[in-house]
Amino acid sequence: MNRAVFLYVGVLAVVLASFSGLVSLPQLQLGTIQPLVDANGNQYPAPPTGLVAEGRSVYISLGCIYCHSQQVRPPGFGADIERGWGTRRTVARDHIWDAPPLLGTMRTGPDLANIGVRQPSDNWHLLHLYNPVMTSPGSIMPPMPFLFDERPVEVQVPYDALAFPPEWSTPGRVVIPTRRAKALVAYLKSMDKSHPVPEVVP
């Protein structure tokens, strides 16, 4: 094959074709999806704001996606729903505000698409971030003490100090979550994709 023009045309054509098929066409099909609005004007999904949006940045910054996914596979494909990771599969509409979507590709830890439903307790999340084995024996998730301040206890225990289980208590010291920790927890608690969507017939 000695005609360079064939190489040029062929090489460019194949990549333009895949670009059209895997990017342009999907954008045409999915780019106009709107949030659902109910009678009270509540949107689903609602665009993230405030502490939840901040928490999403913390999630990205700490690389949580490398152990946790955020996608519930359809019933009958894997056991995501049977494990209680969601009441329905997740769909494109769930991610219209996500830039970028944090679907993840590893489940070293459990899927988090609906973690706000499974674990609604602030203290559980804070303990888990501080030292995961406190809530999850045998966990290999990295402890994140850097998300917290440790101080010797003074007259009054601060309102947001972590409440340790008895076997992990730290007499004489308190552990206070930093803003990063609180934001991250707010984000985790916001993750709830149980809202029904027309794409999924119950």
Partner: protein, 71 residues
Amino acid sequence: MTLIYLFIFGSVVIAGLTAVYGLVWAVRDGQMRRFSAGAMSIFDDEEPVGRMTDAFPGEGNASGVGVGREP
């Protein structure tokens, strides 16, 4: 959705026709006859067919010394 199907089906047809055209051109132009020439193009008098061009350093049990001039 119709747009998608049209696009995919259309691309496949166009790609297929281009491939057929390319093949016909290649046969007519004689590309197919020159294949062995292509495989041989990386060899010449200095590094001919039949001579290896790599060896472990200092092991002295194989390989080609180049035929070129020695300094």
